[in-house]
Amino acid sequence: MIDIAISAILTVFILANIMNLGGLLLWVERKGSAILQDRIGANRAALLGKLPINIGIINTLVADPIKLFTKEDFVPPNADKFLHWMAPILAMVPALIAFIAIPFGDILVIGEREINLQAANLNVGILYILGMVSLGVYGVVLAGWASNSRWALLGGIRASAQMISYEIALGLALIGVVMTFGTLDLQEIARAQGHMIGGVLPGWGIFYQPVAFFIFLTAGIAESKRIPFDLPEAEAELISGYFTEYSGAKQATFMLVDFLESIIVAGLITTLFFGGWQVPFLMRDGLHLPGDIFYPLPSLLVTLVQHGAFVTKLAFFCWLQIMIRWTLPRFRYDQLINLGWKILLPIALANVLVTGLMILIFQA
């Protein structure tokens, strides 16, 4: 009974934070892009008259949602009303529930009870997240199909082709990681990265699997359909791709899903390649510095620091994806498919092969 309650609390905690982070990312995206393009960006809406410094947070977090949610909800004539209504939900739900397998801290000891800071301790965590991310394509394709518009349909078809192509590279990049750590459980993978290589370098996945990291980052951005891989949305060619015919709250949902997907990618990168909640030298019972120096620390403090480290890493990779989005131009469609099948896939396969060889050599 108490276990279920704890799980429910953790789930609510994650979902609430992820939704807030999605909204914040919208602000980072708008204001950050303005700053890097020598502009000012959103600064019109302000509470209580004009503030001396307006960082545009009211614009993006209050004014924009109010505008979107009070707009007309337009359904095109001859559209499939039911599917048109279902599509945003089908896109949103898998993106949201994928998070429950990502660990955001080690074990928190309260009294006698040990709480694993992960909403669902799945021993197939990686497969579960991959499955959920793949399910997201249904929302997109159905949105394109149900809208009864050729732009939306083209966007939907492009999205499905792109997501299927890049899922292969994504999965193969992960196989290298799974071979290195020998488990599919994300919490175990995070725990396995706690040691130090040679006493100084943290034993994070990126030092074992650098190639897999770059493949995963590329394929991950392609999965979340953001520039430079935003062909399903491609404003210049397809108006707005699969959500051309959406307005108001439903369109806001699709926009949020894009951010949620990039948060998932950031979360996976953090967990698989950057040690998840690991902080160098910090163990569950305290600080282990080189030279056998040991400071014991209370469990709550350790957990808080580790959670803070996780959030910082997550935020950094979300920010990095936004930076990449504002740096690169969009790929052409044939370039996109070529990159997926002719470059990323062979590299990922070679990576699996080399990893296998390495494991054989080091075990022998």
Binding site: I35, L36, I40, M323, I324, T327
Partner: protein, 198 residues
């Protein structure tokens, strides 16, 4: 077709070029963010962090070749220069110039416009009327954009008096005087709209 500039091996590797692009954007991001923070602390005010014009608080001056609102030019004695020849009305593709010609009391002057109106709701600001006029009687060098608000259609029909008045204002107040007037009337209108009276 063969591309003139082949990409080098390093460029075709994608990643180094992506990193190069990222350094450019990150440099701008870091520089502008630091400057914005310094500005809000009141330092380094004269180094700009953003190059955009903060319209409507700031405005760019209209360029010298700007085709703005019309004006009817004046003779030395202040009378209208137009001879009511109807060439502008004929040239106008939007059919928005309405002239009523009358006989001038002075026998040396043949005709003059008793009524000269431009319907600015129809005008497309193409400048054909200026091109057509044989006596340089109509010009668009007022450096002010057309009025975009009013309470009825008749507010947008500019009669001879307004068109000639522009020439007077320009002669008295200089190049930007009409724009200043326009901005003041905007502000007055904004205040009236905020107080809720029409």
């Amino acid at each position: 077709m063969k591309r003139k500039e082949e990409m080098t091996w390093l460029e075709r590797m994608y990643l180094p070029e992506v990193l190069r692009g990222l350094t450019v954007t990150l440099f701008h991001f870091g520089r502008n963010l630091t400057l914005h923070i310094l500005h809000s602390l009141g330092m380094a005010r004269d180094t700009k962090a953003a190059y955009s014009t903060q319209y409507p608080e700031e405005r760019k001056r209209y360029p010298d070749t700007y085709r703005g609102s019309h004006r009817l030019t004046l003779k030395e004695d202040g009378a209208v220069r137009c001879t009511a020849c109807f060439l502008c009305a004929t040239a106008c593709p939007a059919n928005c110039i309405h002239i009523e010609a009358g006989e001038h009391p002075d026998p040396n002057v043949e005709k003059y416009p008793v009524r000269y109106e431009i319907d600015t709701l129809r005008c497309i600001y193409c400048g054909m009327c200026v091109e057509a006029c044989p006596c340089d009687a109509i010009r668009m060098d007022t450096y002010v954009h057309p009025r975009i608000w009013g309470f009825s259609r008749t507010d947008f029909i500019e009669p001879k008096e307004i068109l000639m008045g522009r020439s007077h204002t320009l002669a008295d107040g200089g190049r930007d005087s009409l724009m200043v007037q326009m901005l003041e009337s905007y502000k007055a209108g904004e205040k009236r709209a905020m107080l809720g009276d029409k």
